[in-house]
């Protein structure tokens, strides 16, 4: 095998077997050595037993942005993983599997969905392979030159439990370390990095470090012949310090830095982890400075989450909530109250597969129109999206700034891909963080909360000395008292909507959108959110054949019509391609309504799995070379 600049890995096993732990250990270990790492986590809406997997990319030259197929290493904890992913292993790749599973037949994998089983059986039948692990492994070996690496999971773990006198019922805890060890050995990661990974992970349970290092040695002995069989180049990324975190964590940390002091939530995938992280940091002192207190409130439902966040904002706290589609739906009425009363509040909205409960643990970008248009009546709202962890960090701060400067609800529209993806990223530059709270009134006589003389109302917090004020969801006068007079209505209603103009005028262009790639492109790709990474990699890879430019839309509402038109002014309409993790590719609708530009080249994916580089490139090629209009992608298990 050649020395590779980057390698893809799939680690698979049943939910609950510790894959997340493996991902964290491996991610830290690799980053420690200086590699760039990214990893997507795919799992069912289930706590124990269903198939889950990590799809990881390790790069020696850059911080990776996207994932693709095939992968060099398939590391399986169970038979289901092999059945599910065998076809994704690269020619000359590696498959790691448990010896004890060799004779497992696909019909004896109850955790597999019937639909999937039938589908895979057909594939195997076409290949003429009997549906057992043994047959698949030998098929891979023979037909695809894949190197099989067999490990006896049971006997290795038994040795550990015996050596350390561990209750055998705890044995399964060691599977994650075993798989980390195996992968490390196969890619030749030095022991000290593996140890670092274990140390970081088990800081608070130090005995586990020792156990896992012992495990590492046993695995080493067992597969020593395969050491460094997959050769990845030495890292040459010019960064000495990195953060490795999920999107949830990036946003949680950003919220803390932005000064959130009230975060409400009702548990929901994939948003809850954000609140959990904030709660971990609810009060800290650093160099004698208090960071906090942050009240992190688990409410009785999402309605209470949004309403209490609005209440906290009225009292003067930077305030936010986090949810996904079903929860957002319940927040809509509350958001309309924030709109009517000009209350700053940030709603972090992680999209997952809908409608209804949909695919709770899978990703999507199908809620764009919901974020922009849900709620009765018209009022100013801002919808902001982020293309990756670093953007998400800074946009989170920006979301609070916009909310407070314009006294509007801001929806930060993200997705499950970002939420659960871990990535190694540069440490954010804290100096870049600006905290703008807008104009605040601390004490005033004859205070008018909704003064009509300016588009931005003078904001005072409840409790401000000598200030008494009213808020009402009913149409109100400058004091906040209910008034139904038509002239007052006309002024107050217009004022609230027309703030949107200020947002458009004053928001810096890099918050509105990012433009990447060729200055004189043949085609322009438009997307937002989690499309960014794969799009940037694709334009780079296709660069010598097709000149591409990617517009990463960030300010989705109000739509930055002027800037968008400026960028696309010279390109023929049929050379714009819109991409989205949805069926409708709804960004195209938003563009049409905001600019009159109709985009009919579209790339859609709505299986709940992220767009991978291989299929994306293929789709672009089909559009460019074969004049396809609509590409529906479906790669990934």
């Amino acid at each position: 095998m050649f020395i590779l600049k980057e390698i893809g890995i799939i680690l698979g096993g049943p939910q609950g077997a510790g894959l997340e732990t493996s991902m964290a250990i491996l991610g830290r270990a690799l980053t420690r050595k200086g590699y760039g790492v990214i990893a997507d986590r795919e799992y069912f809406s289930n706590i124990t037993g269903r198939h889950s997997y990590i799809h990881m990319l390790i790069s020696s030259t850059k911080l990776p942005r996207s994932l693709g197929y095939p992968v060099e290493i398939l590391a399986s904890i169970d038979a289901e993983t092999v059945f599910t992913h065998f076809k994704d292993v690269a020619e000359k790749g590696v498959v790691i599997y448990d010896k004890n599973q060799l004779d497992k037949n696909i019909d004896n994998v109850p955790s597999m969905e019937d639909y999937t089983r039938e589908r895979i059986k057909i594939i195997l039948a076409r290949l003429g392979v009997n549906p057992t692990i043994e047959n698949i492994v030998s098929y891979l070996e023979k037909e695809r030159n894949v190197v099989p690496i067999e490990i006896d999971f049971i006997s290795i773990i038994r040795k550990i439990t015996e050596r350390f006198k561990i209750d055998p019922r705890q044995a399964s805890r060691y599977v994650s370390g075993l798989i980390v060890s195996a992968i490390s050995i196969v890619i030749g990661l030095e022991e000290k990095f593996v140890r670092y990974g274990f140390e970081q992970q088990f800081r608070e349970r130090r005995h586990l470090i020792e156990h896992n290092m012992a495990l590492y040695e046993l695995v080493y002995d067992s597969i020593a012949t395969f050491r460094n069989i997959v050769k990845v180049d030495a890292p040459r990324i010019a960064l000495n310090k990195l953060m490795i975190l999920t999107g949830n964590d990036a946003i949680a940390i950003a919220k803390i830095i932005a000064g959130v002091r009230y975060q409400s939530y009702y548990p929901i995938t994939p948003a809850a982890d954000e609140s959990f992280t904030i709660e971990k940091y609810e009060y800290n002192e650093v160099n004698g400075k208090a960071v906090g207190p942050i009240v992190v409130m688990q409410t009785e439902d999402e309605i209470a989450a949004i309403c209490s966040a609005i209440g906290a904002s009225l009292s003067g706290a930077r305030s936010s909530t986090a949810t996904s589609g079903p929860g957002f739906d319940l927040m809509v009425e509350g958001i309309s109250f924030a709109g009517a009363n000009e209350v700053p509040v940030v709603i972090t909205y992680y999209q997952r597969g809908g409608p209804s409960t949909g695919q709770p643990t899978r990703g999507s970008q199908s809620d764009l129109m919901n974020a922009v248009f849900a709620a009765h009546g018209e009022f100013a709202r801002v919808v902001l999206s982020s293309g990756d962890h670093v953007e998400a960090f800074h946009d989170t701060v920006e979301a609070f700034n916009i909310a407070e400067k314009y006294q509007v609800p801001v929806i930060h529209l993200l997705d499950k891909f970002l939420a659960n993806m871990i990535a190694s990223v540069p440490v954010p530059d804290i100096d870049r963080v600006k905290i703008e709270r807008g104009k605040i009134v601390f004490s005033r006589s004859n205070y008018k909360r909704f003064d009509l003389s300016n588009l931005i109302s003078p904001r005072a917090y409840l409790g401000a000395d000598n200030i008494v004020m009213w808020h009402s969801g009913d149409e109100h006068d400058e004091y906040g008292h209910i008034v139904e007079d038509p002239e007052n209505r006309l002024k107050m209603y217009s004022k609230r909507i027309e703030k949107m103009k200020l947002v458009l005028e004053e928001t810096p262009s890099d918050i509105k959108m990012g433009v990447y790639g060729d200055k004189n492109p043949d085609y322009i790709i438009v997307g937002w959110g989690s499309v960014k990474g794969v799009a940037l990699d694709a334009i780079e890879m296709l660069g010598d054949r097709i000149k591409l430019c990617y517009i990463n839309m960030k300010l989705l509402w109000p739509f930055p019509q002027k800037e968008f038109l400026e960028i696309v002014k010279d390109i023929p309409r049929d050379r714009i391609i819109a991409v989205e993790h949805s069926h409708g590719v709804n960004i195209a609708s938003l563009i049409a309504m905001s600019t009159g530009i109709t985009i009919d080249r579209k790339i859609a994916k709505f299986t709940g799995r992220p767009i991978t580089l291989n299929e994306f490139i293929e789709a672009i090629e089909k559009i460019v070379y074969r004049n396809e209009k609509r590409m529906v992608l479906a790669y990934g298990a």
Partner: protein, 313 residues
């Protein structure tokens, strides 16, 4: 006491003449006066309904929110600034119909908020449909047919939910009601007052005449002591007050049903985690210095060190 503030706004009060809400408004204003509450440190939070218009008539901060959601709004306001006196007003539809889930949740938190329910047996502002407190089979004049749903018992529900101060007042017993409100405000923890409120326009069954005959004061019985005086008494007192809460019909008790100061308030519970809370709280904690993060780059990295990896070449 010197009267520093005027607690009435100049707005025209647009309730129907004779509405029980007027009595409640009088009691609230009087209670505030006697407590000398600072209007800028006091907040009335209401839902939507006839009753929920009350914040506009009282000269303290007013937040007139969404139907059924006054409690969560109030929760955010109070948690972010625990120094505020926060009083929720709502209708029976508001608090026990659409808002019943929040009503129950507040009891579980024992947050230091007062909830005053204007109990008129109807959905006033939407023209008289049966509210959750109207008994089964009652036909008020706005209903085409007798009520098909049972009433929920507000006192019992509050007790079951964990409120630590539970009382009932009557809109036209203004002084008695004023005293209940004062006690509720002074109480540390979640307080609930069920206020019987005649709706002159839609409820021709539970009228002022009806109540005049039916109500009696718990205070009048010298043996009635609703206050938990030591923690061990809580269960017994709770059971007594539950038993009392079942009285309805010819004889309706008003007064205090239950008081328990031995349950930690939510603020106190938070204090155990956030140490300086409530003194330092979301409304007054420093979040920026001259538009910059309060943390330097180094401090940031220190705080979030768990996420940081230093590359080892």
């Amino acid at each position: 006491m010197e009267r520093k503030w005027d607690y009435k706004t100049s707005l025209w009060v647009d309730w129907c003449p004779g509405c029980g809400n007027f009595g409640i408004l009088t009691a609230v204003v009087k209670a505030f006066e006697e407590l000398g509450l600072d209007p800028s440190k006091t907040v009335i939070v209401s839902g939507i309904g006839c009753s929920s218009k009350i914040p506009h008539f009282v000269n303290v901060n007013g937040v007139h929110t969404l139907h059924g959601r006054a409690i969560p709004f109030a929760m955010g306001i109070k948690l972010a600034n625990p120094e505020l006196t926060v009083i929720v007003h709502g209708g029976d539809g508001d608090l026990l119909g659409i808002g019943a889930g929040h009503f129950v949740a507040l009891g579980r938190r024992n947050l230091d908020i007062v909830v005053i329910m204007h109990n008129n047996g109807v959905y006033g502002l939407t023209k008289g449909q049966a509210s959750p407190t109207l008994p089964l089979g009652v036909k008020t004049k706005a209903l085409a047919k007798p009520n098909i749903q049972q009433a929920v018992n507000p006192i019992l529900l509050a007790l079951a939910s964990g409120y630590t101060f539970v009382a009932r007042g009557y809109a036209f017993e203004s002084t008695h009601l004023k005293n209940l409100i004062k006690m509720a405000i002074k109480h540390r923890g979640a307080a609930f007052i069920d206020v019987l409120q005649p709706c002159i326009t839609f409820n021709d069954v539970f009228t002022a005449e009806f109540y005049r005959k039916a109500i009696y004061k718990l205070d009048d019985d010298p043996s009635w002591d609703p206050v938990v005086r030591k923690p061990e008494e809580a269960r017994e007192k709770l059971l007594k007050s539950i038993e009392k809460s079942l009285e309805w019909g010819d004889r309706i008790p008003i007064g205090v049903f239950y008081v328990n100061e031995y349950v930690l308030t939510f603020e106190e519970r938070l204090n155990k985690r956030l140490y300086k809370y409530p003194a330092i709280n979301p409304s007054n904690a420093t979040i920026e210095i001259n538009g910059k993060s309060i943390l330097s780059q180094q401090e940031f990295e220190e705080l979030f060190k768990d996420y940081i990896v230093v590359v080892e070449r």
